[in-house]
């Protein structure tokens, strides 16, 4: 998504503004873009959300279905979260198997939710070692404008919060749906991912596409409802000082608690 000379000019401009404490779209350095969450966008799924973070747009659909447990994990349900960039989201996106960027995106979003223990997977067992409930949260990006880590994380979290899980029983070793027994997915905490970029010596929150193209490094930090840090991933071709990393942790807790209020409304509206 870059062409080097234009990127150089863009970077100079962005950096010059940052020296004056300003961002290219007028935000404060620690300010996220507008976040719009619409749940139940895919009514036939078990849960879903359409999220717009600035001009990045993601649809997440949750499918809940019986599955076999992983080996040695027979007392736990399954949670898998994916992310895909649809080719209509940006002219540079190519069809075909996902590249390293998209694989990293999907795995970071998955781990943020997984490591927070958001879903109590021990409650999603149909029969120990034989049959469990699988929760599959698939994100598709329909419009790209930078920072997809958070857009996908919010979409997946909102979709899970809006989900109802059916109930199954084992009949003759085959999981059979018990009609009319839907319940909420068991939730223990609400993880919030906050992605920050580093441009020069400046840390900015929720980089848009222009900022994303020119930033030196980035870090995504996920916090839980207790204000603890439960996942992190550094990316990009430069590094952070230790002080910067610690400050990013503080920012993620602060911003996370604001975003969490928005996500709680999803839960309450469910």
């Amino acid at each position: 998504m870059s062409s080097s000379i234009i990127d150089e000019l863009k970077k100079s401009q962005i950096l010059e503004l940052l020296e004056q404490g300003k961002r290219i779209d007028g935000r404060a350095l620690d300010e996220t873009r507008e976040l719009i969450i619409e749940t139940n966008a895919i009514p036939k799924a078990n849960g879903s959300a359409r999220v717009r973070l600035g001009d990045s747009e993601v649809v997440c659909g949750v499918k809940i279905q019986p599955d076999r447990p992983f080996p040695d994990m027979g007392d736990k349900g399954i949670f898998i979260c994916t992310a895909e960039l649809l080719p209509l989201s940006h002219p540079s996106v190519e069809t075909g198997p996902p590249g390293p960027d998209v694989i990293e995106l999907a795995r970071v979003v998955d781990r943020g939710i997984r490591e927070s223990h958001m879903i109590d997977l021990s409650q999603l067992v149909i029969k120990k070692d034989k049959s469990v409930v699988g929760v599959f949260a698939d994100n598709v990006v329909s419009d790209y404008d930078g920072n997809l880590f958070d857009a996908c994380a919010y979409a997946a979290t909102a979709a899970i919060l809006s989900s109802k899980t059916p109930k199954w029983e084992l009949n003759d070793d085959i999981p059979t749906l018990v009609e009319g027994q839907e319940s909420d997915v068991p939730i223990t905490t609400i993880p919030v991912s906050v992605t920050m970029g580093k441009i020069g010596n400046h840390i900015i929150v929720d980089p848009n596409a222009d900022e994303w193209d020119v930033m030196d490094a980035r870090i995504t930090i996920t916090t839980d409802s207790d204000g603890n840090i439960c996942a992190s991933q550094k990316g990009g071709n430069d590094g952070f000082s230790m002080d910067e990393i610690v400050r990013c942790g503080e920012i993620s807790i602060m911003i996370g608690s604001k975003i969490r209020e928005k996500l709680k409304q999803v839960k309450e509206g469910n």
């Binding site: 895919i42 879903s48 659909g61 994916t82 649809l86 209509l88």
Partner: protein, 245 residues
């Protein structure tokens, strides 16, 4: 004679179908032109419970170059279903069904677009099925036409699409998912209303020669209903919305 058994009452004594429609009544249709920020043109359609997003890029350079044509621009279409769009979560790899539908939709759009002014380029149509409910290819084709127009691609005509079919021994318009599963025949049709050309036609299921003809006629009536909504969607975007959006 090709019918399949079902406990579902597909057509009751009053001629009302399983979802409350009359035999010649399409499902609820909502078409919106535009909507995507990065695509050169886009459209969104809700057709019954189908929810489909289409984005168009181009004319633009072709990679790899040997795929391009020095005489004309080429049209490329990808029809793709999201993992969560169907009742059993779909494997993300493109299925043979998706590849075939991509080709059928491409060939249905081809007579409508005028690309000879854009040699060596491609126009890419990306169709994303967010929620599927029977008849996705017709809904997708109808939305793709609107997205192409929204992208400013020169066109001879719009392609409007709707299926007809046979349910409870009766020819009906716009077969839904239950009717397709339990019914006797489904015939998706794509049609250019001004040029009076059928550019998509498929049939699965058994029809007498008379029913075959009646299905085509019925389908074309549906296409004309869709065509009016396509025009309205473009009008709403470019000249302001006067009604439902």
């Amino acid at each position: 004679m090709g019918g399949r058994e079902s406990e579902l009452v597909l057509l009751d004594e009053n001629g009302i179908r399983c979802d409350g429609r009359k035999v010649d009544e399409p499902r609820r249709i909502m078409i919106k032109a535009g909507g995507l920020k990065n695509a050169d043109g886009s459209a969104y359609i809700e057709f019954g419970d189908n929810k489909i997003l289409v984005g168009v890029f181009g004319p633009r350079d072709v990679h790899p170059k040997h795929m391009s044509n020095t005489d004309t621009g080429i049209l490329r279409v990808r029809y793709h279903m999201e993992p969560f769009s169907v009742s059993e979560r779909k494997n993300p790899a493109p299925s043979r069904r998706e590849i075939e539908i991509s080709k059928v939709i491409k060939e249905a759009l081809q007579p409508a677009v005028i690309l000879d002014k854009f040699p060596r380029t491609a126009v890419d149509v990306f169709i994303e099925v967010l929620q599927a409910d029977g008849g996705t290819r017709c809904a997708a084709l109808s939305a793709a036409s609107v997205a192409l127009a929204d992208a400013g691609i020169p066109m001879r005509d719009m392609v409007a699409a709707c299926a007809a079919g046979k349910v409870a021994d009766t020819v009906v318009l716009d077969v839904n998912n239950e009717e397709d599963q339990a019914g006797q025949a489904d015939m998706p049709i794509g049609y250019m209303p001004n040029l009076k050309k059928i550019t998509l036609l498929q049939l699965d299921g058994v029809l007498t020669p008379e029913e075959y003809k009646k299905c085509i006629e019925t389908g074309i009536i549906g296409c004309k209903i869709v065509y009016d909504l396509q025009k309205k969607a473009l009008h709403d975007k470019y000249f302001g919305s006067g009604g439902e959006q």
